[in-house]
Symmetry: C2
């Protein structure tokens, strides 16, 4: 089965990170539209036939008029490129998980058990919103919670992750939408399985042509992007052992310092973890693009325009195996 692309919708890109459970609607709509263009390239010129026929609070839409569009049965463009979507939690789930310590385990403690329930409610709420946004664009999206799929961890590493339903959904022409989730852990009882760990696991097993991380900044920088003179790392080379180094731009005074700087400033594990995760994927020969969501750069990355040479005017970070 030829998978074109696995996309990570970063929590920071699609939610308002500082406000509890608030979607960044504008970004989510733009990302959904770009995904439609990447999955169904010929859809740009025709009317989108939505697949979300449910009520939306505050929005009155006549569902039956949507259905009229299906009469000819030819208005829907079939998916030409197979995609899998994984999203993070952003302002959904983090609050519930951190207040209760779900990631540290201990399901016999009432607070942890309650936090497990509360976290799953929050992340599945976000999942449903994303599935609906994609469906409104005509993307046949199917929400699949790692917990319900039976995924579990051992000491926070994936212990069991049955991909058969994901594969079956892809084969049948759907786009599985997975997410960071609270799951059972064989050793500590429970933990949080992050979207990044899911991505790596899916990428190694499904071997897509490329993986795209959609974030809220242009890519990976040598120091926090808010710092003046911070430099966007354009290309990172990875060897088969997973070691990585910055190839472009040529960093004069920095050398190996970059890795340390990146790791040091990033207490949340965001960007340093992202490069390491990306390198773990890239070492299998799968290109990884880290790019700002809802920009022309993300559209080009999603559409596969970067598979050959990287255009000079493309902004983002490419993590790629040196052959």
């Amino acid at each position: 089965m030829e998978i074109r692309c696995i996309v990570k919708m970063g929590g920071a890109a699609i939610t308002c990170k500082n406000e509890l459970e608030r979607i960044n609607e504008e970004n989510l709509d733009a990302v959904s539209s770009q995904l439609r263009q990447a999955m169904i390239p010929c859809s740009a010129s025709v009317k989108t036939v939505g697949m979300d026929w449910s009520k939306r609070p505050g929005i009155s839409e006549d569902v039956s008029s949507t259905l009229d569009d299906f009469c000819g049965d030819h208005t829907l463009n079939l998916l030409s490129n197979k995609f899998v979507v994984v999203h993070g939690a952003g302002s959904f789930g983090h609050f519930q998980a951190s207040k209760s310590g779900v990631h540290k385990g201990g399901l016999d403690r009432p607070l942890v058990k309650a936090g497990f329930v509360a976290t799953r409610i929050s992340v599945t709420t976000l999942n449903l919103k994303i599935v609906r946004a994609l469906a409104r664009e005509g993307i046949p999206s199917i929400g699949m919670s790692p917990f319900a799929c039976g995924w579990s961890t051992s000491k926070r590493n994936i212990a069991s992750a049955d991909l058969s339903m994901v594969a079956k959904a892809i084969e049948s022409g759907f786009v599985p939408v997975l997410h960071g989730d609270a799951v059972f852990d064989e050793v500590q009882g429970c933990t949080i399985l992050s979207g990044d760990v899911i991505i790596r696991h899916l990428a190694v097993l499904l071997k897509p042509e490329y993986v795209v991380f959609l974030t809220d900044v242009l890519g990976v920088y040598d120091c926090p992007p808010t710092v003046p003179d911070s430099v966007l790392l354009r290309e990172i080379a990875v060897d088969e052992g997973g070691n990585w180094s910055v190839v472009k731009p040529t960093l004069r005074n920095m050398n190996k310092q970059v890795e340390i700087t990146v790791a040091a400033h990033d207490t949340t594990g965001g960007m340093a973890a992202k490069i390491s995760e990306a390198a773990m994927i890239a070492k299998h020969g799968i290109d990884v693009y880290i790019v700002k969501a809802a920009t022309n750069h993300s559209l080009r990355a999603l559409s596969g325009d970067l598979r050959g040479n990287i255009p000079d005017d493309w902004l983002g970070t490419i993590v790629r195996l040196t052959r």
Copy 2:
């Protein structure tokens, strides 16, 4: 593993059947409260500590005050009786499924594929609302979609239904909440797996002490309950072959006519299908109670008060194996 009870929340009992995607909030709250009393019998006297820490549109609740209640770690009453909840679709999902013909299969047709996506969005929306209502009552509920769990059918009968995640969730002290869902079918591509079929499958494999069907009428009648002089069937006896007959009340003029009458008036398959489904469960020695949701009768049924003799003042239908 000793499962106390599997509960079917009928779509008609928890949604407003004639209005698209409208929850019957009053009933759902009452049912959730009764389920708490049945699962956590000592909880009646103490304050409920909710497990839904997510925002609710139009309702401002301070989540952090909920969390303060957890400080002592002893305020939460642990589940003493193991339950599984399955719900129907009611006014969620039916519209999307019937408009597109998902139950008839044919995933290669764009309308069916879109309907599959739209149906899953609608039923998972309902599932999330029910999981949240239960969590607000302090029930550690976990939404588990049959589709994501990998359940599938062959010619509309269950072909594959891995119960390991359901069992694991129960063992860990959670209450799995399943639902009627759109699933893959080996022969026709896809279909609708109904809540009633799920209940039967779960009952046979998990062998609960009893099964409760919560509906919007008192139980099963000899003819539609809106007809004057319709008689509530109080007790139905089932033999090991699954054949059933009305034991109480003693029906003078009706004899075998009852079965035919029930089947004939019920074009939606509701009540006739319900007796047949109940008989398929009861023949395994599991009592089935069909009762009106959110009444004192449903509370007694859920609490297991009917396991011995049936009180004369209890109203509902019992379907039970004749030994």
